[in-house]
């Protein structure tokens, strides 16, 4: 494995001159520079990133930490982040589980984007406090160098439910996600507030867990109920899909017997029968804008506007 030393020797210059040339510093004579570049090429030399990182105290890496690799909603956020970071000359490093903590604690990244409940506020605050900008997308944390960009769950679900009431529905149920989920809780708040403002005093509540399987079980349960809700609002699309599957199996027609809707606009919603009504976030744009804000913070140390992602109601066939 050739080092800069080998390149310098081959080109007949000192290590520092080699370094200057390889880093495109203007001071070095064109001829020597060429000699150095040729030597590097012929040796198939690449700088050792680790050594550079140690010296410069920068890695050029941005960590994106997710709670798992399954699940369809991440992909677009990640892709948006990736595209933007590439433009800004950063490497993207996506990780999950124990690795995430390691990479943060050992400072193998210059900044972080978080989408993982399992990373504690403490861990993140500690990382951020050492001058590493951090964006959190799955909760709100206050702290030095730490910023949140979260969906306005409450507002958009509120609007959606009121729209459904205008359409004539009045008998609602809520199929929840996990109780400790930021997104779920805010969606439920919006749901309740809408009912309240429409003077609807009662609603059923089903405990789900954001999975298809969970929605499916609730669907089986609902199928056996004497008095079924007319509209089940599901805290995410996957719950809705499971629910819909169970209802279909029990010959309960959607939306004629029971209407339903979800959240996330996962791409398969459009391919179901009936097509799923949902609330969509422009994940690609969200990813890009967060990545841009982070890049600005790292490069210029100044915080530009952090756009919160906008939600959009997507009416299809399930209600």
């Amino acid at each position: 494995m050739p080092t800069i030393k080998d390149v310098a020797k081959k080109a007949g210059v000192s290590i520092s001159t080699a370094s200057y040339a390889l880093n495109n510093l203007p001071s070095v004579h064109p001829e020597t520079k060429q000699r150095i570049l040729d030597a590097a090429k012929s040796l198939n030399y690449y700088p050792n990133g680790i050594a550079r990182n140690l010296k410069t105290k920068k890695t050029g890496n941005i960590g994106v930490f997710v709670y798992g690799f399954s699940g369809p909603i991440f992909s677009d956020v990640l892709e948006g982040i990736r595209q933007n970071l590439q433009e800004n000359g950063f490497n993207i490093i996506v990780s999950s589980g124990k690795s995430s903590e390691n990479l943060l604690n050992e400072r193998q990244v210059d900044g972080a984007i978080i989408f993982d409940n399992n990373l504690t506020d403490e861990c993140l605050k500690n990382f951020a406090s050492h001058d590493f900008p951090t964006f959190v997308l799955d909760r709100i944390i206050e702290g030095k160098n730490i910023y949140s960009s979260v969906i306005d769950n409450e507002g958009i679900v509120y609007n959606f439910i009121r729209e459904m009431v205008k359409k004539g529905y009045r008998d609602f149920a809520y199929l929840s996600g996990p109780n400790d989920s930021f997104n779920n809780n805010h969606r439920y708040d919006g749901f309740k507030q809408a009912l309240k403002d429409e003077n609807i005093n009662d609603h059923k509540y089903y405990q789900g867990d954001f999975t298809i399987q969970g929605g499916y079980q609730i669907g089986q349960q609902i199928g056996l109920e004497e008095k079924k809700p007319r509209f089940v609002y599901c805290a995410n699309d996957e719950s809705a899909i499971g629910l819909m599957k169970a209802l279909r199996e029990m010959k309960i027609h959607v939306p004629k017997d029971i209407a339903l809707a979800g959240f996330d606009n996962i791409y398969l919603g459009e391919y179901l029968t009936p097509k799923l009504t949902t609330i969509g976030i422009d994940h690609l744009k969200w990813g890009k804008s967060v990545a841009q804000a982070l890049s600005d913070l790292i490069k210029d140390k100044k915080l530009n506007e952090v756009k919160h992602p906008e939600g959009q109601i997507i009416i299809r066939e399930s209600c």
Copy 2:
């Protein structure tokens, strides 16, 4: 940001003793060790990974390089890899695009798992040649330190098509993926061979691109054809989904009018109407076994059996 120097000073020992204690070397006296650990804790000390990596010439990171973050099939492979690497004490770093090349060339990872056409054979061979074990999952490369683990596309598609012939189908078409795709080409080979062995001399061929959108367009085209194929085998599930959507819109019934099937067993196949017949790979297991082989290679420098992933035919309702 505290360094080992600060810890040593606080504990009243030399740097090297601090290092010994922090790395659990047996030689250090329990009492001093405790003092050092306490000091580290009170300073909130974490070793600087970069510095350690430079000295030890190991990063503890495994790079997983994918062609993009979208697409459902990756997630399970990634999750399998993640689980296994975590057990083996490695960090997982998933990356894509330009970053992948950077991380490889700058040796920020100890080994790599590849799922990305855009990384050239040359780049991978170069990386691997410097004693970094590399597993390639999306093609076959021969070279020092470089190993392939690929799906037996040909064999399983072959078996599937022959099974369909037994069921009575004889008029087949192939909806392809991109022409330069390893998976697509081998699936097509299996498809053709099966027809040949069944003495079916002719078949239609539609050029797709592995996307829902692509499948949808072909579906619209087929809808207008005078003489439609009886069975369209799709090179992946997403193509099949797009195709199915178009057919439904044109009131062509699946499987009564046209039967179809895909490849990948993406999870939503089960939630479509009709449910999609497909060929499934146990991606989680695949990811785990590749990660295990890579870990063995890095730790023991010895190559254990590389399991090729097994495919399974999953008959549902679309044919």
